[in-house]
């Protein structure tokens, strides 16, 4: 049984279909999550967030393509891009303010809301 699963997998691997895109997006999502959890610098946490958003976008567009050619998924992806732009601008403004106040952007050192 194990060998048939493996041969199915090896048979599946070179023929790119929906699941290939989904698994690449899973890799990107995991990397983004890992960056968000482990990085100390707030800017790198934001980069991890962008990776997560890109992974979600790949999923949306892959399903839009393979679930019949349907544009609703692409429109949803465009809204995700819009919100990512707004989020990046506001988050960086907050990070700059934090830097002016604390002289650091390490997320584990910023533990007070008020001086």
């Amino acid at each position: 049984m194990n060998s048939s699963v493996l041969s199915n997998f090896l048979d599946w691997l070179p023929h790119v279909q929906l699941a290939h895109f989904l698994i690449v997006s899973a890799v990107l999502f995991t990397f983004g999550l890992f960056a968000m959890v482990t990085r100390r610098n707030a800017i790198l946490v934001l980069m991890g967030l962008e990776l997560v958003l890109n992974a979600a976008n790949i999923n949306l567009i892959a399903f839009a393509r393979y679930g019949g050619v349907n544009l609703d998924g692409q429109v949803a992806a465009i809204f995700v891009i819009i919100l990512a732009a707004a989020e990046a601008a506001v988050a960086l403004a907050i990070v700059l303010n934090i830097y002016h106040r604390f002289q650091t952007v390490n997320v584990d050192e910023i533990s007070s809301l008020k001086e």
Binding site: W12, P14, H15, V16, Q17, L18, A19, F21, L22, V24, A26, V27, L28, F29, T30, F31, G32, L33, F34, V37, T38, R39, N41, A42, I43, L44, L46, M47, G48, E50, L51, N54, N57, I61, A62, A64, R65, V69, L71, Q74, V75, A77, I78, F79, I81, L83, A84, A85, A86, E87, A88, V90, L92, A93, L96, N97, Y99, H100, N106, D108
Partner: protein, 168 residues
């Protein structure tokens, strides 16, 4: 393997390799610049998935806008004297476990559920016009809300980031 598969694996290599540099590099500037290649690779996936307009929007917004903002963030929040711009990591072992569990479950579900879905009929036409029609008809309200959100984010970011003048 056909050309499509080869191109897919090329973009997958670019995307995942540069994403790994973003996640594991100690140098923030290297991380920011490899994010550029990640975004390009994702745009390549969009082209492979017949989403030409979204691919162009991805390059314009992510590479042209968000990446520039992030680079400004890197430059403005490090002391110029510390040239190396190193950064540390925390919680590494719990994060490895969390990431392994999340990736295992996601990839397992994706492979088990969707591995039999085959290629759809190839009617590849330009999507920009139809997306524009959708934004003006079915998605008119979200479109307007998104424009207000962008305006509020712009004003809010400018207000938060400016330095308050000391009254003397």
């Amino acid at each position: 393997m056909e050309t499509f598969d080869l191109i897919f694996y090329l973009f997958a290599l670019i995307t995942i390799g540069s994403a790994a540099i973003v996640v594991f590099s100690k140098n923030m500037v290297y991380a920011a610049f490899s994010l550029l290649f990640t975004f390009f690779g994702v745009a390549g996936f969009y082209v492979l998935l017949a989403a030409d307009f979204v691919a162009v929007a991805q390059i314009l917004v992510y590479v042209g806008g968000i990446l520039t903002l992030l680079l400004f963030g890197v430059m403005l929040t490090n002391k110029v004297i510390s040239v190396d711009m190193k950064t540390g990591t925390i919680h590494t072992i719990p994060a490895v476990m969390l990431a392994a569990v999340v990736f295992g479950s996601l990839a397992g579900v994706f492979y088990a559920t969707w591995s039999t879905v085959t290629a759809p009929p190839a009617t590849l036409t330009s999507t920009a016009g139809r997306i524009g029609e959708l934004l003006m008809t079915a998605y008119a309200l979200p479109f307007e809300v998104a424009s207000v959100v962008l305006l509020v984010a712009m004003v809010g970011a400018a207000f938060i980031a400016r330095r308050t003048k000391k009254l003397s």
